[in-house]
């Protein structure tokens, strides 16, 4: 009997040992395939941003207006960064990603307040001397960059709406940044996105309403109404459709002839090109890990004249082709 008891006790011990070994085995596997690498990158990220934050705070206050704006804007961004950290800790990866994209974009806008040591003056280029094919290619690239920018803007506004539901109102943050003097996402940008994507309208307005004053909300509504009345998107689409029905491949870009004519606003064009060049230079399309998405954009306001001319051009072509 004594022996049986002894064997039973030993077997129980072995059983417990097996259970324990299995628990340890799965714990190791879990740590290997779980958050592992990302967790390390998160630690590096928080360490780096904490360091940068301390460095910003230790900077002596500067007398220049730009420095004051930058310092204030960074304090505004700190709140957003804290929210991103909190989202990550709560395992809300998608919200963290969206918030970081917003921070990235805002930091790029804040950076525009700092003038670069070297600038590239493109106004010295004589556009009429460029080979025809190269010229068309540059125009095409500009157009596609603009489309990219538009896509990103829609996605950003969508993200801001989703983030608002999670606890931070980025419409308000953007408004604060604009009031500080940072040229960033504003009422007009939001209005443009909403007027071209009506399904977003309700959500965006609800989110914006919670973050801005009644007066500002009224202003936002007015801007949207104006954008809708103006109907840029709709008219451009109609022109394109009319042209397409006649077998023309007309789009919103000006033709080479328009650009080479005396009417063409070369100064505005050069300014827009210069901005594009600066964006390419400040972006990191050439970095070894190829974070190219932040690359380039093409200033819309600088191209308004050309766009209007192009629309008129296309409309008259379409009308000529189909007078009825």
């Amino acid at each position: 009997m004594k022996t049986i008891n002894l064997i039973y006790k030993k077997l129980s011990g072995i059983k417990q040992f097996i259970y324990l070994s299995l628990v340890i085995f799965f714990s190791i596997l879990n740590s290997l395939y779980g958050a592992d690498d990302l967790e390390k990158q998160y630690k590096d990220f928080t360490k780096e941003t904490d360091k940068i934050s301390k460095q910003f705070n230790s900077l002596p206050p500067d007398t220049s207006v730009e420095s004051t704006i930058i310092d204030e804007a960074i304090r505004e961004m700190d709140k957003v960064l804290e929210f991103a950290n909190q989202s990550y800790r709560e395992n809300k990866a998608e919200i963290t990603e969206m918030t970081l994209t917003y921070i990235d974009r805002s930091l790029a806008d804040i950076s525009k307040l700092t003038s670069k040591e070297y600038s590239n003056d493109l106004s010295v280029i004589d556009m009429t001397n460029l080979p025809k094919e190269d010229f068309q290619e540059i125009m095409e690239i500009s157009k596609q960059m603009k489309d990219n920018k538009k896509e990103k803007m829609v996605s950003l506004v969508e993200s801001m709406t989703a983030i608002e539901k999670e606890g931070i109102n980025l419409f308000q943050v953007s408004k604060n940044l604009n009031e500080l003097g940072v040229d960033t996402l504003n009422f007009e940008d939001i209005a443009k996105v909403v007027s071209e994507n009506s399904s977003l309208k309700e959500d965006v307005l609800n989110a914006a309403k919670k973050g801005i004053s009644e007066k500002d909300y009224a202003k936002q509504l007015e801007t949207i109404a104006e954008a809708e009345r103006f109907g840029i998107a709709e008219s451009t689409a109609k022109v394109a459709a009319a042209a397409a029905s006649q077998g023309l491949t007309k789009d919103a870009m000006p033709t080479l002839e328009t650009m080479q004519s005396e009417l063409f606003d070369a100064t505005a064009h050069n300014a827009a090109m210069a901005e594009m060049a600066a964006e390419i230079a400040s972006g990191d399309i050439g970095s070894d890990n190829a974070k190219a998405e932040a690359a380039a954009s093409y200033s819309e306001s600088d191209r308004d004249d050309q766009k209007a001319k192009s629309d008129a051009d296309a409309e008259s072509t379409a009308t000529e082709a189909d007078p009825g």
Binding site: T101, D104, T114, S115, I141, A277, I280, A281, I285
Partner: protein
């Protein structure tokens, strides 16, 4: 007492086992792996190069191998340059992107047989490591192209042409130096560091969704 211990042990075991399995729940199906490999494209030697690019190879360098080697060397030098260099040479980055296209083609050529063997052996993981590194390279290529409004359907010749034309265009401008306030300079540097930190971690988050796919391809 023993029953409670047993229950606790089993519960812990089930918890860890479940979370271990769930870490693989997002694994894409085999079809996705094949699709990703298909997206790598097939090597085809470029028939046309931008004139400026040919000049950069030098007179004696006419074969694809020589051109790709030279392009890769030049590309890596430019990619490692600091922001001040890029401000002074606005076209350099775009020329480097054209050179990257050749580097990618060279990688495709070099690993052509491995890709074929991988496809033939799948789901056996033959040359998985090479395939994963090619997929990562291809994703970079896609991002770079997207910045100038192109995608993976754009031919290498067309992509090189576009990068080069834009590079030439930017190089035609006049570089002007201006004096910058020291405090602004400090803030500029900090902003750049801040942006880089955010961008790196955001990319890591985005890449996480591919990690399971990479594991599926290379882990035995």
């Amino acid at each position: 007492m023993f029953k409670i211990k047993k229950f606790l042990a089993i519960s812990t075991l089930v918890f860890f086992a479940t979370s271990y399995v769930s870490s693989f729940s997002a694994i894409k199906e085999s079809l996705t792996v094949k699709q990703e490999v298909k997206m790598l494209g097939v090597f085809s030697e470029p028939k046309v190069y931008p004139v400026g690019m040919i000049e950069s190879f030098g007179k004696g360098c006419k074969k694809f191998f020589c051109r790709a080697q030279k392009a890769t060397k030049k590309m890596s030098i430019v990619f490692n340059r600091g922001s001040e260099y890029h401000q002074r040479h606005p076209g350099a980055q775009l020329y480097a992107l054209a050179q990257f296209e050749l580097y990618y083609l060279q990688q495709l050529k070099k690993n052509e047989k491995k890709i074929q063997k991988f496809i033939a052996a799948w789901p056996d993981k033959k040359h998985g490591k090479t395939i994963v590194s090619l997929i990562k390279l291809n994703k970079s290529r896609e991002k770079m192209r997207k910045a100038l409004g192109m995608d993976l359907n754009t031919s290498a010749e067309e992509a090189m042409k576009r990068y080069w034309i834009m590079g030439d265009f930017l190089e035609k401008g006049e570089i002007k130096k201006q004096k910058i306030n020291r405090d602004i300079k400090k803030r500029e540097k900090l902003l750049a560091k801040y942006k880089k930190a955010v961008s790196i971690f955001n990319s890591a988050l985005k890449d996480k969704e591919y990690e399971n796919l990479y594991d599926e391809i290379q882990k035995k």
